[in-house]
Structure formats: C-alpha cells, structure tokens
C-alpha cells in the first residue's frame, strides 16, 4: 500500500503543473464569464437580447430562455461550455493513460521488477484521476466564488450554490467516466498516442451522437449509449434537480472502465 502512495506521490508531482495550470485557466474562465455577464447585465443586454427574439422562438425555447438570458445562466455556462468539457475530458484521458506511457517508455519495467502487484498501477492511476478531478472542480468553483464576490453586480440573483455543485458533480462524473474509458483503452495499448487518439475519437463520436440525438428523433434511440446523454446542464439551469440516474450511469461507466483496466492489465504482456 505504501508503495502505491509513493507511486501516486510521484505521479501527482509530475502532473501537478499541468493540473494546476489547467485548473487556474478554467478558474480564470469562470471569472471572465462573470465579467461578461456583469457587462451584459449592467448594459441591460439581457432584456434587449430577449426582446430581439421573435415570439415563436420565445415560445419554442420556453422557460430555458429566461434561465439562460440571465446573469446566473451565463455564470453557469462555465460548467458546460464545450471548451471546458473537452479540456476536462482530455485531462482525464491523459491521466488515465499514465500506465500506457510508462509501458511505452519502459519505466514500468523498473517498477514492476520490484515486489509490486500490477493492480496497484491501476489503483494509483484511478487515485490520480480522482484527485485531479477534485482539484479541477475545486479550482473552477473557487473561480466562480471569487468572480461572484468581486465582479457580480449588486441586486442581481446569483446561481444557487446547490446548482453550481450539481453542475460540478455531474461534470466531474462525466470526466471520471471518460477517465474510465481512457484507462480501459490504455490498459490494452502499447502506445499512449494511440490510446489517447482512440479515447479522443470515441469522446468526439459520443458527443456528436448525443448532439444529433437531441435534434433528430431517429438518432435518439441510440443516443443513450453516449455518456454525454447523462450530463444535462440545461435542465439543471432551468431548475430541475440533478438526476440521480445520470450520476449512477456515469459512475457505472467509470467503474466498468476501471474494472476492465484491472482485468486487462493483470493479464497482458508488458512489452514496449
């Protein structure tokens, strides 16, 4: 066990700059969004934007329009903006493929030539993934909190902390689910680049599937296989609670990925 902590410490030490830099960037992004929302709010832009929409569009969009055309709505965008989601998923896949990188470089030979069971390599990676996810979300929420404290105009309703936590929790589980997928792919791969590319392409395909499924009825029947289907920020911003089913499904995807990684890594030949 202590050997795993030692490995985890070294892995985190190697990744701390990447995780902290990305976390601070996303934290800064939250603050920028708050500054943008403040600017629109103080110039009366939300009312103007709403008025510009034709009545049929306002009817079509329903309550989501008022949810998004508001200060709180823009602040929440920081938790489901495509750039934020893709950054977090890329980080998850990068961390999940640490074992593949160690196989590729040959570092794993030195580690596993010691009395260390293979499953600790996977456990260490899962721990690194969990910690990185927590750090990223904490920094993002820290950015939201700081931005609201410093930049939010007075007398404007903020998004509730329950909503922010729900968005962060759902986003965090989405990140872990992709981490699980990345770890499963990486545990069977020889090259990190290949594992990363497969993980990235899968994420893109799943995102497109979910997107098409939301717009086009026939695609909806297969869109359930996409993990993105289980991240519904719009519904939460409109006031719906965080669906437990979504958390469960994403958690199961992550667990299945981790389980597959344990099984595959225990059986595979390690050669570079």
């Amino acid at each position: 066990m202590s050997a795993t902590f030692l490995l985890l410490r070294y892995s985190l030490k190697r990744f701390r700059t990447t995780v902290l830099t990305m976390g601070l960037l996303l934290s800064g992004f939250q603050m920028i969004l708050i500054a943008v929302a403040r600017s629109i709010q103080t110039s009366g832009g939300f009312e103007q934007l709403s008025a510009l929409l034709p009545p049929f569009a306002r009817e079509l969009l329903g309550p989501s329009l008022t949810s998004f055309m508001s200060f709180a709505g823009i602040v929440c965008v920081g938790y489901f903006h495509l750039a934020v989601m893709s950054s977090l998923i890329a980080l998850a896949v990068t961390i999940a493929t640490i074992p593949t990188s160690e196989i590729e470089t040959g570092f794993i030979d030195l580690i596993l030539a010691r009395p260390l069971a293979r499953h600790w390599i996977v456990t260490r990676t899962i721990a690194a993934l969990l910690l990185s996810t927590l750090v990223m979300l904490a920094l993002m929420m820290g950015g939201t909190w700081t931005g609201l404290q410093v930049l939010a105009p007075k007398d404007v309703p903020w998004p509730s902390w329950k909503l922010v936590f729900s968005l962060a929790a759902n986003l965090g589980l989405l990140m872990l689910a992709w981490g699980g997928v990345g770890l499963a792919i990486g545990s069977a791969s020889q090259r990190r680049g290949v594992a990363g590319a497969i993980g990235g392409l899968l994420a893109l395909a799943a995102f497109l599937l979910d997107y098409v499924g939301r717009l086009w009825k026939p695609a909806e029947s297969v869109a359930w296989v996409s993990p993105f289907r289980y991240y519904s920020p719009f519904e939460m911003v409109m006031g719906n609670p965080l669906p437990a089913k979504h958390l469960l499904v994403l958690g199961c995807i992550a667990a299945a990925g981790f389980g597959t990684a344990y099984a595959v890594f225990a059986r595979r030949d390690i050669s570079h």
């Binding site: 030692l6 070294y10 160690e102 590729e104 470089t105 570092f107 030979d109 010691r114 009395p115 570079h272």
Partner: protein
Amino acid sequence: MAPISIRGITKQYGRLRAVSNLHLDAAEGEILGFLGLNGAGKTTTIRILLDLLRPTSGEALIFGRDCRAEGLQARASIGYLPGEMGIYSDLTGQEVLDLLAGLDRQTVDKKRRRELQDRLEFPDSDLRRRLRVYSTGMKRKLGLIQAFQADPRLLILDEPTEGLDPLMQQSFYSLLADAKKRGRTVFMSSHVLSEVDRVCDRIAILRNGELVLLSTVEETRSRAARRVRVSFAEDTSAPRDLPPGSEIVQANPRLWNLKVQGPLGSLLRAMSGLAVRDIEIEEPRLEDVVMEYYHEGAE
C-alpha cells in the same frame, strides 16, 4: 534452492516462437552469461522471469518461487537493470533512486548507495540534476546503482556495460566480483564477448529461441582452436600430412599460420626436424566458439 530455474518455457507471439522449450538453471553465487544475437529470445526470457511477459507454456522459478503465482516474493530478491532505462526525464536521479528504493522490500542502506556512487563516480551533484540532461553513460550508472542498491540476492542485468566508458566498465567488473564474493548470483546478457570471457562462470547461448549451449566459460574456451604462428629460418614447404586437430590456414615459405585443436605435443613433434625459428601461440578465445554457435550451421 536455485536462484533461477527455468523449466520448459515457450513464448509464442502468433506464429513467431520467441523462446522454445527453454530449460536453464543458475546456481547460487555464479555469474551466468546469457548470450545470443538480437532477437534470439534473451530479453523475452528475462521479462518472463520478471513476470512482465507470460509464457505460453512452462514455468520459471526464482529461489523456488513461481515467477507468476508468487511473483511478489520472487521479485523481492531481484535487482534488475533493463537494456534501456525508461525513466521520467523530469525527475532527478535522486528522486528515481528514492522512488525505486521505496518500492523494494529490502531497506536500502544509505552507506551502500554512497559506496556505489563513489565506485561509479556518480556525485550528489549529478543526482540532483534532472534526467533529461543525463548522458547515456550517466543513465547506465544510475541504472546500475538502482539495481545494486538493495544488495539483492539475484541480479538480472541486460547489457550492463552498454554506454559505459572503459574505466566505468572496470568499476562495474569489480562490483560484480564483490557481489559474487558475497554469494550473490548474477544473470547477465551481453554482446561483449571479452567481457563475458572475463566475468562469467558459465554461459548459455540462445539461438532462435532455443538453448544451443550451456557450459562453463573454461570448457567452452577449450573447444576453440589455438592459433599457432610458426616462422622458419629457411624456406620450408608445407607438409601434406599434419597431426589430427592441426590445420594450416595459410602457408608461406617461411611462415605458417595454423589452427590447432587440442594438445600441441603432436604438432611440435611433427616439426622437430624443421628449421623452426619461432613459435607464437595465441590462447583459445571464447569469442571463436561463441561466434560459431551464433551462426546457423554451428553444431
């Protein structure tokens, strides 16, 4: 209990048989050279011993422990130097040694590490540097320190002197001699046959995944023909018949180059009536025998 006991190991990759029904034992306290051309199956065998690769059939034991079923106990007594040191370039040498020492079950004695550093001329200032600035030789020295630092009972070394300068090679040989003196077993692969000749007690030669020779270095060397150079004071024609085991490689009127297998007595007797001016005898070389085995047609 034998430090290494390989029983009928076969490793197949699809149609390719990397190692074929290999049986091999290493005795306690010996230095066993593991030889073969690239792709002969040496590294595959080493990786099976470390449970990095799983054999298609057969089993390998380290001090009586199955490399797979009891891998943790088996590897607890191994110090391993890989052929290529794959290490994170953003770590310092010190961090690598500390990390690997932390993963060992044996406690690493700081004095021992200091002694290794001194003998391999690896000062603390180098240990504090990041690995990205290390030369090939420095990485090799770091690799040797991490393999030897826990003073393991069995050392598995893959091309240990690759990249080391001649002085460091000498230091390494002295480390090996000390390890042997303390009863440690060394299993090393090498392409440097002069090194094998110098440090190994026995050699095992693999060819296309099959063991083609397992013998002591002395015995192997004795199979080699000696090179004999005879110069004459006057023109001498080469005889039609030479004693069995002797063969003229090149003959000039005043100089013969011969290869002699076995004792020289009969050759000397055959030349007793000739105007011999000088005789030079080269000791048999391990390299000559090993090279024969490397070639496909060797017996």
